[in-house]
């Protein structure tokens, strides 16, 4: 019985798979709810609802449990009004419903004043940075990767250097990028390009090399050569794998976003997050972080679906 739970991927039917997928999201949410709503799990602080006789207590103030206890004892001794409060978690761990409210308010009632960034505007700015960074990286990386994978000579010429370069951490180029490209979006896009491009060339070159040589040979016996061979056999042959690589690389581009946006003038979702954290609006911080996750994961899901439409002949997708 217990062994049936450890079945191989192929044995799990579609309904079970959906169920498990939903479960994988519900489980962490459940833990979060438990920590937030069950007072006996953690709650190391006390939220003051009535300061009583304690002169430095205020409504909505968070104090340590031990300190609250001491003050209650003090007030009892001096026969003053007792402070009232309820157990609470630290400010940096808001409850799920607070985050949900922040999420809703962030999109439905964005702030009116211009000096506070709104979540949708910040996100849109970030998405644009990712888009341009990934586009520029792909325009260079994809053709270079395919050519390196097809022609050994080209591959041998550039891959050792790229292999070296990809170990240089992209954020290390931040100052340089600002010096060259100014303080606005230029250096941010550059960091994403630097972070993605070098991996991209190597991964795509590798994918290209994995194309069956007999397909190229068959095409040659059928009269295809040189550039024609590249456009009629190599590119269509690797397209499904190339698409999959690009999906993974897009995920990497997102991971460089936060660092990139800290360079020069802070902007986009990163600026939103740092601003909100400064005012201790941690519910907004969580909402913003989750939105990044939702956008990233959502795009990948959509692209995955699209891939199945685009490449009906691709057999490896059946196994996913």
């Amino acid at each position: 019985m217990i062994f049936s739970l450890f079945g191989r991927g192929a044995d799990i039917d579609a309904r079970k798979r959906t169920f498990l997928a939903i479960g994988s999201f519900l489980l962490p949410l459940l833990v979060w709810c438990l920590v937030s709503y069950a007072p006996f799990v953690w709650h190391p602080k006390v939220l003051v609802t009535d300061p009583g006789g304690v002169d430095y207590f205020q409504v909505d103030m968070l104090v340590d449990k031990a300190m609250f206890k001491d003050e209650v004892a003090n007030m009892e001794q001096s026969h003053l009004a007792l402070p009232v409060g309820r157990p609470s978690n630290p400010i940096y761990l808001p409850a799920p419903d607070d985050v949900a409210k922040a999420f809703y308010n962030g999109f439905v009632h964005p702030p009116k004043s211009t000096d506070v960034p709104s979540m949708p505007a910040s996100l849109w700015h970030s998405v644009q940075i990712i888009f341009w960074g990934f586009l520029i990286s792909s325009l260079i990386g994809v053709p270079l990767g395919i050519v390196s994978g097809t022609y050994n000579l080209v591959g041998r010429l550039n891959e050792p250097f790229i292999e070296f370069f990809r170990y240089l951490p992209a954020p290390a180029f931040g100052a340089l990028a600002v010096a060259i490209l100014g303080i606005y979006d230029g250096p941010k896009i550059a960091i994403i390009v630097i972070g993605t491009l070098f991996q991209q060339v190597l991964i795509i070159a590798n994918t290209t090399r994995k194309l069956e040589t007999t397909l190229i040979e068959a095409a040659r016996t059928l009269g295809s050569k040189n550039l024609k061979l590249l456009s009629t056999v190599v590119v269509p042959g690797i397209l499904p794998d190339l698409y999959r690589d690009q999906r993974i690389l897009l995920g990497w581009a997102w991971t460089y976003l936060i660092v990139a946006e800290l360079i020069g003038t802070s902007s986009g979702i990163t600026w939103f997050i740092t601003q909100q954290a400064r005012y201790q609006h941690f519910d907004n911080v969580y909402a913003a972080i989750m939105t990044i996750g939702i956008i990233g994961f959502g795009t990948d899901l959509v692209l995955g679906r699209l891939g199945r439409r685009l490449f009906p002949w691709d057999r490896t997708q059946d196994r996913q």
Partner: protein, 305 residues
């Protein structure tokens, strides 16, 4: 063996009909001529001579099979003829012109089908004509014609992965033939098929060959297949690959599966077996190390044999 069948004729004996047929073949022009062809290459184990002094010629509409033990270089030979590998000595001439690279005058069918998985059956067949510079409509007409010939017109819009092995190989044959090559090179094309499909494909190939002006050079390691299909069989030996004998198959045409038991067929097969010697090849070292030590795990009286 000989005591039971003292009457097995020599494989060199040809009936008048068969002799006359070979006489007619010899009248035809030479399509492929291979002269003193050799191939050496460097490998981590040192320099290897894959082929040495290969000499033979194939005449128009002749069906020649190449057979030999593993490592005799039969695949290397056909790859050189297809232009996919370079030879290091001698020459290979197609219609008197030396072969320098792949070309549409030679069609190739691979063992692994190597159909383009992203193209439908029809588009796979259209690939050659399109490379030749034919327009889409002309190429499509050609493709339809050849798909009909291999009996797959109903599957024109299917993808290769939706077809069975036999059907895929039919597509591969149509794809090679649509260019109307002078010679069709086939590298163990039916090696991956099950016995029944393989027999069907052999008969089908003979039908195609009978109806089309095409010469076939066919590599196989299956003796029956070679005798069933070929006019002549080129027998290679290994290390280095050299021509051991060229056998004129004495089995009369038209060939039918019923001939597998005819005396000519069996005599030819006996000769091939003697030449190729299913030699007890020394097992690789890691195989030699495997020595099962049988322990009885069942009741002593519980015997199955």
């Amino acid at each position: 063996m000989n005591l039971i069948e003292p009457m097995l004729p020599s494989y060199l004996d040809q009936s008048d009909e068969v002799r006359a047929r070979f006489e007619r073949i010899r009248q035809r022009e030479v399509i492929l001529e291979v002269r003193k062809l050799g191939k050496r290459y460097r490998s981590p184990q040192g320099e290897i001579e894959a082929l040495r002094g290969i000499d033979f010629s194939v005449r128009r509409r002749e069906f020649v099979c190449v057979i030999g033990p593993s490592g005799c270089g039969k695949s290397t030979l056909i790859r050189i003829l297809a232009g996919l590998d370079k030879h290091t000595s001698g020459e290979a001439l197609l219609d008197g012109k030396p072969i320098t690279g792949p070309g549409q005058d030679r069609g190739m069918v691979f063992q692994g089908y190597s159909l383009f998985p992203w193209l439908t059956v029809k588009k796979n067949v259209m690939f050659g004509p399109r490379m030749k510079g034919e327009g889409h409509d002309q190429a499509e007409r050609d493709a339809k014609l050849w798909l009909e010939l291999v009996g797959l017109e109903k599957f024109a819009d299917a993808y290769p992965h939706q077809l069975s092995g036999g059907m895929r190989q039919r597509v591969a044959i149509a794809r090679a033939l649509v260019n109307q090559p002078r010679i069709l090179l086939m590298d163990e094309p039916f090696g991956a098929l099950d016995a029944q499909t393989r027999a069907k494909m052999q008969t089908h190939l003979i039908d195609i060959w009978k109806n089309i002006d095409v010469t076939v050079l066919f590599i196989t390691h299956d003796l029956d297949e070679a005798i069933y299909l070929a006019d002549r069989i080129l027998v290679l030996k290994a290390h280095p690959g050299e021509v051991q004998e060229v056998i004129e198959v004495p089995v009369p045409r038209p060939r039918t599966p019923g001939q597998f038991n005819s005396p000519e067929f069996r005599a030819t097969k006996a000769r091939l077996e003697a030449l190729i010697h299913p030699a007890p090849e020394p097992l690789p070292e890691d195989e030699q190390a495997v020595k099962p030590h049988m322990i009885r795990f069942t009741d002593v009286h519980d015997n199955v044999e």
